[in-house]
């Protein structure tokens, strides 16, 4: 089985914006043995009332279509809730993972950011 983890990496205080930003970090290989966990973790946070999520994929070495599908579904769900956003962090150096996002054609659904700071700054502008 491939190596995969996902963990909470803190909440960015968004009091002045009226909504906190949660940061999740995933690493390793996200294939179909891992993507259900990814979906579940994201769904848990949204069920708990979080609508702004940063997902840091900087140390992900492999991502498949089921993971992309899980992220697209999460982004769609957040949008439908209104004022919700999923910001994915995948730096330029992680070009294999970036390429899969590009080929999958989900750039209109999933916002990709080069750094966690960029992603958090982007979400802070969402009112």
């Amino acid at each position: 089985m491939g190596f995969f983890y996902i963990s909470d990496d803190g909440t960015v205080d968004g009091a002045e914006h009226g909504n906190d930003v949660v940061v999740l970090v995933a690493g390793g290989e996200i294939d179909y043995s891992a993507s259900p966990q990814l979906s579940e973790r994201l769904a848990d946070r949204i069920d708990g009332g979080i609508t702004r999520v940063v997902l840091d994929l900087s140390t992900v070495t492999f991502i498949d279509s089921t993971a992309i599908g899980a992220l697209a579904a999460t982004a769609t769900r957040l949008r439908e809730l209104g004022a919700g956003t999923l910001a994915v962090v995948c730096p330029d150096e992680n070009r294999r993972v970036l390429r899969i996002f590009e080929i999958a054609g989900v750039d209109s659904m999933i916002a990709l950011h080069n750094s966690r700071e960029d992603a958090i700054a982007e979400l802070a502008t969402v009112s």
């Binding site: 089985m1 179909y32 492999f62 080929i103």
Partner: protein
């Protein structure tokens, strides 16, 4: 494992479980490396095989022993990885290829390989993924 001379084949029986996907990628990567592909091509082959095996696990059916079958065939300048399950899911394969997640998987395979063939018989479904040396 060696996949070097023309028409040389290797095979792997893989338990049809998501936890075995890493083993499928490793098999594909080794076959591609043995064929002489560079690191990027090896990754592309492993990615495509992972998608085909994922489809077989999700939508296909293992054989009576719980396996799906992988093979690598080196024929001249072309390496072909085949993923075979015992399902005959023509309709669901077509439906899944046409839209949604399944469609995304097939589109990715097609972009990363030179050719993707889906062969459905009365006994099995086989996806053949081919890539040629430059």
């Amino acid at each position: 494992m060696r996949v070097q001379t023309a028409q040389e084949t290797s095979e792997l029986r893989l338990p049809a479980r998501p936890a075995k996907l890493a083993a499928a990628r490793e098999y594909a990567h080794e076959a591609a490396a043995a064929f002489g592909f560079d690191a990027e091509c090896c990754y592309e082959v492993a990615f495509a095989v992972n998608e085909a095996v994922t489809n077989a696990i999700r939508h296909g059916r293992p054989d009576e022993h719980g396996y799906i079958h992988l093979s690598a065939l080196a024929d001249g300048d072309r390496l072909t990885l085949a993923v075979r399950d015992s399902g005959t899911f023509a309709a669901s394969a077509a439906a899944s290829a046409a839209s949604g997640e399944g469609g995304r998987g097939f589109a990715l395979m097609a972009r990363l390989m030179d050719a993707v063939q889906l062969c459905v018989s009365s006994e099995s479904t086989t996806v053949r993924l081919s890539k040629a040396r430059d």
